[in-house]
């Protein structure tokens, strides 16, 4: 179970390996101890992990399921949250309002996907467009400032580990338990592996799928609320989180064709991306080199790790000539094992 060979076959390991490599390069370049770097990475990664966890749940729901509204939702939730908390004076209400904004957008997507059978990528694109319009309307003449108390709390780093990182880590453990031990988690995995079989087995496919999109919306809303307080509410606050959230989920070992979720891997992918940004800033490269490096590394990790299922895009599960047994259809017990590692 714990031999290196087994460890290397864990789907979540590649993100962490890549993150470690980048960390080593940063230490070599800066010539200092890496503690500071890790602490900084840990204060930025939780936001990406929050969004990534939601995206992971959606992707796990099966072929074609993807949430491209997370970017606009983050921006919208940022404004809604900061606006509400400065209007009411309550931080909790502000965060709840941001969360609610995410839920409303996700509800629109869910109705379109499940009620009107619109493909998820289009449904979430459309609801994301609505969200970005709402953001622009709110942003017009927006003057409210983020709550300083919450900002201090987000900046708090006992023993160099940001408080939010601990909270989000706990949330990740919760996600593992949710996927492993609850009816919802097991149903979601089953639906992702074979929707039709899950339906025939009597699982409430519609309810589980709707819940999944709502969870993604809520997590993106939460991330947006916190991020807007940590940085500042801007209309393009969430732009980079759309592509990054999808990338960290897949680098983390979650199957893009659904049916296998790897919450721990999201951390690996997120740390890899955040450290990479840090490295590029440290070396003082331009945005051009930053993107080039990010793209090449993502492709490198991806092609090195290789894939599981042959039909990645959005096709229903079909028998293929080359079934990759372990990767394509993991047993639920197997999935649980990998998430705990």
């Amino acid at each position: 179970m714990n031999t290196p060979r087994n460890l290397l076959s864990r789907p979540w390991i590649w993100g962490f390996v890549a993150a470690l490599l980048v960390w080593a390069v940063i230490m070599a370049v800066s010539g200092q101890g890496g503690g500071q770097t890790v602490s900084l990475a840990l204060s930025l990664a939780p936001y990406l992990v929050l969004v990534g966890l939601g995206q992971m749940l959606v992707v796990t729901a099966g072929p074609g399921n993807i949430d491209v509204s997370v970017g606009p939702v983050i921006s919208l939730a940022g404004f809604v949250s900061v606006g509400t908390s400065s209007a009411t004076g309550s931080v909790v209400l502000g965060i709840l309002a941001g969360l609610a904004a995410g839920l409303v957008v996700a509800a629109v997507s869910s109705v379109a996907i499940l009620g009107l059978s619109v493909p998820p990528i289009i449904a979430t694109l459309a609801s994301g467009l609505v969200a970005s319009s709402a953001t622009l309307v709110i942003a017009d003449g927006f003057t409210a400032l983020p709550d300083p108390g919450l900002r201090n709390l987000l900046n708090l780093r006992p023993l160099g580990v940001p408080l939010l990182a601990i909270v989000v880590a706990a949330l990740t453990v919760l996600a593992v338990l949710l996927l492993r031990g609850t009816t919802y988690g097991r149903s979601l995995t089953a639906i992702g592996q074979n929707t039709r079989a899950a339906e025939r087995a009597g699982l409430p496919v519609v309810r589980i799928t709707a819940l999944t999109y709502l969870a993604s919306g809520a997590l993106a809303g939460l991330a947006g609320s916190l991020l807007a307080t940590y940085i500042a509410p801007t209309p393009d606050l969430g732009t980079r989180y759309l592509l990054d959230s999808i990338a960290v989920v897949v680098i983390g070992g979650t199957l893009i064709s659904g049916g296998r979720a790897v919450p721990a891997g999201v951390w690996g992918g997120a740390l890899f991306f955040i450290l990479l940004d840090g490295l590029v800033n440290l070396v003082g490269w331009s945005t051009a080199a930053q993107n080039l490096l990010k793209g090449c590394l993502v492709l490198f990790v991806l092609f090195l790790a290789g894939g599981g299922s042959r039909r990645p895009g959005a096709a229903p599960v079909r028998p293929t000539r080359r079934p990759s047994t372990t990767a394509a259809l993991p047993t639920p017990a197997n999935t649980g094992g990998t998430t705990h590692g």
Partner: protein, 319 residues
């Protein structure tokens, strides 16, 4: 008599297949009528050219997306790729046409290599093209950090071409739809590409290589992406790597509106042309309706949802 009648009427399956494009056509016609009632000049040749010109590069990119969707893949890098091509067109293609042309061919080869790697390493196209999009963006920023440059004369004069007898944008739109139609529906290559999307096992059992089919599809998509970028820079008169970033998702919407699906196996070049024109017209309609800029994207999203909802309803009635 009855035979003649039944053969004249489209079959139920045929109706179901063309229903999505039909709904998009109705939406397109409705928008043209609405635009014309608001601004009668839309129905003149120059007016209609102006309205349609926005859709031309979009439709080329959407055809590329359609080819990849017909093999069951999806391209999340097409927006940055088209942007990169506009950058090359505005810089290298002006300073040294030969080098510029070589770079454009190298980009198409890059797409072919990407397709081959996706197949050989069995990785999801969604995430590989996503990674490639960072590469395209980085390359574009590297060549031209800020928007600018000039387009080659021949390209600019094509962009400014204004025949009086028919709207100029219709020509490239119809030409590319015909070309893709001939390739996907009337050639062996097209059959192989669609077979890869609908039944890769059958393709392999028939003794044909799925790898070469995928590489061919990616090469075609890369070539269409290059054409899209050239057309876009002929309109904007310069290069900007982020000028087409919205294409990534809008092209997927155009394919879906045109009757394509994520499942692969079907090619809908004419539908894509209609879907792309409809999406291009949305923004024109909205600006004629004086919809606030802030709200335009919301209305755009709403229209896409409404068309798809209408389609789902029709599909249910036909079933």
């Amino acid at each position: 008599m009855t035979d003649a009648l039944t053969s004249a009427l489209p079959t139920r399956a045929g109706v179901r297949r063309s229903a999505p494009a039909a709904v998009s056509t109705i939406a397109l016609a409705a928008m043209v009528v609405l635009c014309a009632s608001l601004q009668p000049d839309v129905l003149t040749v120059p007016g209609f050219s102006l309205v349609l010109s926005v859709a031309v590069p979009l439709i080329f990119a959407a055809q590329a997306q359609m080819i990849l969707m017909s093999i069951g893949d999806i391209d999340l890098g097409i927006g940055s790729f088209v942007g990169l091509v506009t950058v090359i067109a505005a810089t290298e293609l002006v300073s040294s046409p030969l080098l510029g042309t070589l770079i454009l061919f190298a980009l198409i080869a890059g797409y072919a290599v990407l397709g081959a790697l996706i197949h050989l390493r069995r990785v999801p196209a969604l995430i590989a093209t996503l990674g490639a999009s960072f590469v395209w963006l980085g390359l574009g920023l590297f060549v031209l950090p800020t928007p600018g440059g000039t387009t080659p004369e021949w390209l600019a004069s094509f962009g400014a071409w204004q025949p009086t007898s028919f709207p100029a944008p219709l020509l490239p739109i119809l030409a590319v739809a015909l070309l893709v139609y001939l390739m996907s529906a009337r050639s062996t290559l097209g059959v192989r590409i669609r077979a890869l999307g609908s039944n890769p096992t059958a393709l392999e059992r028939a003794g044909l290589s799925p790898l070469s089919s995928r590489v061919a599809a990616y090469t075609a998509a890369g070539a269409l992406g290059v054409l899209s970028g050239l057309l876009l820079s002929s309109q904007t008169g310069g290069g900007d790597v982020s000028s087409a970033s919205s294409y990534t998702l809008i092209t997927v919407a155009a394919v879906i509106l045109g009757g394509g699906s994520f499942r692969g196996g079907s090619a809908v070049p004419w539908g894509v042309a209609i879907g792309g024109m409809a999406l291009g017209l949305v923004s024109v309609t909205l600006s004629l309706l004086d919809v606030a800029t802030n709200l335009q994207s919301a209305v755009q999203g709403g229209i896409v949802l409404a068309v798809l909802a209408g389609r789902a309803l029709i599909g249910r009635v036909l079933r």
